[in-house]
């Protein structure tokens, strides 16, 4: 497929899947509340319209440049993450280091979310921004090691080669811990579900506290976009890309992405919010050794299977 068409297609897919995640979320919410699942209930249009109509606001002495940069940054990071995900046969950015690129994009979020918290010049927003850094310190190393495992198995950092290396046996079978930690970290960098403490309601919305209107819409859309990008990246890395019987590759890829996405949506409201200070110890004392062990096991498998 032509490179020129691929980028807008990818963005379209991003938007479409984000919409699916929002609708699924609303469906779960409605079911838990005992309301009927009608179109009016599931449609996210009222929420979007509400934010479009709402006026923007500001605070005394904010750092507007940093604030708005951070706000727009989430969507940008999500789009850039998607650039290395193979869509069908082609990739927007055929980087030989696709996995590290994904890592770089999620590290950019450290900066963006903190900037949103800082720029608002509000106590609760600032605390939210710092909470994000605390959480990020805890999940970043496990994420890096979880990304290393498929790279070791495929002996390459190129996402397409990782897909090719999976063949019959998907990576999720031989490295389930890496898969689980990866999904956990996707939720964590997207401020999703149990990791939404930086935007938590106990802090009047945390980093979202002082935003309204379009700025808020950008942030919320960014969160959904990040989850979609993370789910989309999990498929080529752990779930064999487009591999599957009967149906064409892109269908399988889409189905698998949807499955991962729905899993993340289900987790979102099920679990209580993890407090960053509790999670910090979990991340360092539990997840880092686990993921290191996973990489060790993967390396042993690679050595055992080497010709």
């Amino acid at each position: 497929m032509s490179e020129l068409l691929l980028a807008p297609l990818a963005l379209l897919l991003l938007a479409g899947l984000a919409l699916v995640s929002v609708v699924a979320d609303r469906a779960l919410l409605a079911r838990a509340a005992g309301r009927r699942l009608a179109l009016a209930e599931l449609s996210p249009w009222p929420d979007v319209a509400r934010l479009l109509v709402q006026r923007r606001r500001t605070t005394t002495a904010p750092d507007a440049l940093l604030w708005r940069t951070g706000g727009a940054g989430l969507l940008v990071a999500a789009a850039l993450m998607l650039a290395v995900v193979p869509i069908g046969d082609s990739v927007i950015a055929d980087l030989p280091i696709g996995i590290v690129w994904f890592n770089a994009m999620d590290v950019l979020l450290w900066a963006f979310v903190w900037l949103v918290g800082w720029g608002a010049a509000s106590a609760t927003a600032l605390v939210g921004g710092y909470r994000y850094l605390a959480q990020a310190l805890a999940y970043e190393l496990p994420l890096m090691f979880a990304l290393t495992a498929p790279a070791v198995a495929a002996a390459s950092l190129d996402v397409r080669e990782v897909v090719a290396a999976q063949g019959d046996r998907w990576h999720v079978v031989e490295m389930p811990i890496a898969f689980a930690v990866f999904l956990l970290c996707v939720a964590a960098f997207s401020l999703w579900g149990p990791f939404r403490a930086p935007a938590g309601s106990d802090l009047a919305g945390g980093v979202l506290a002082e935003t309204s209107g379009v700025d808020r819409l950008l942030l919320l859309a960014g969160r959904h976009a990040l989850v979609v990008a993370g789910a989309a990246f999990a498929v080529p890395l752990f779930l064999g890309g487009g591999a599957g019987p009967l149906l064409p590759e892109w269908t399988w890829q889409l189905l698998k992405t949807l499955a991962v996405l729905l899993l993340l949506v289900v987790v979102r409201r099920r679990l209580p919010v993890l407090r960053p200070e509790r999670f910090a110890e979990v991340g360092w004392v539990l997840l880092v050794p686990l993921t290191l062990l996973q990489v060790l096991v993967t390396s042993l498998i690679v050595l055992a299977e080497a010709p």
Partner: protein, 191 residues
Amino acid sequence: MNEDVVTTVVFVLLALVAVGFGFLVFRVDSMARATFALAVSFVAVGGILLLLDLDYLGVVVVVMMVMEMAIMAVFMIAYMMNPAGLMPMSMYHDKPRAMSIAVGTFVVLAGGALLVDWPERQGAPPDDVTEQVGLGIMGSHMLVMMGIGAVILSTIVSALVLASARSRYDRLGDDLKARPARDPIRGGVGP
């Protein structure tokens, strides 16, 4: 030909961004802005590495530097007096001497880079430039280098343990048997 022009233009842009934002670090009043100006400067350097086909190094530079800048922002704001930039302040001291040394060093280094008689390239760059650079720098001492990495990590961990005001005995009592640990906040796992 076209590609060369594009590469040169991109290089010039990235170079200007790198130098310009680096200079901005000293011009802005806000510590947060200074930190992230530095981050942008480093990202531009990462971009230049990408232009040199050193993909891995370029992206790793971005990863490391943005993480470091985010943490540095926390400390800059904790320790510096004008974190939000609400007061105008000047970060220059001994301006004449500092300026002449800085500009002089830049002229010498840039002049060297431009005027040195660089050898002509013979043949094409290898397939995996990063691997060649790694081999060229570390060569036969690769194993030593990897070992040094582990040693550095252990040193950092030991330094933290030694520097910490509270030891195992503070947390777990003299016989190391107190459960739960006497911490100001409870950790997630472990005692």
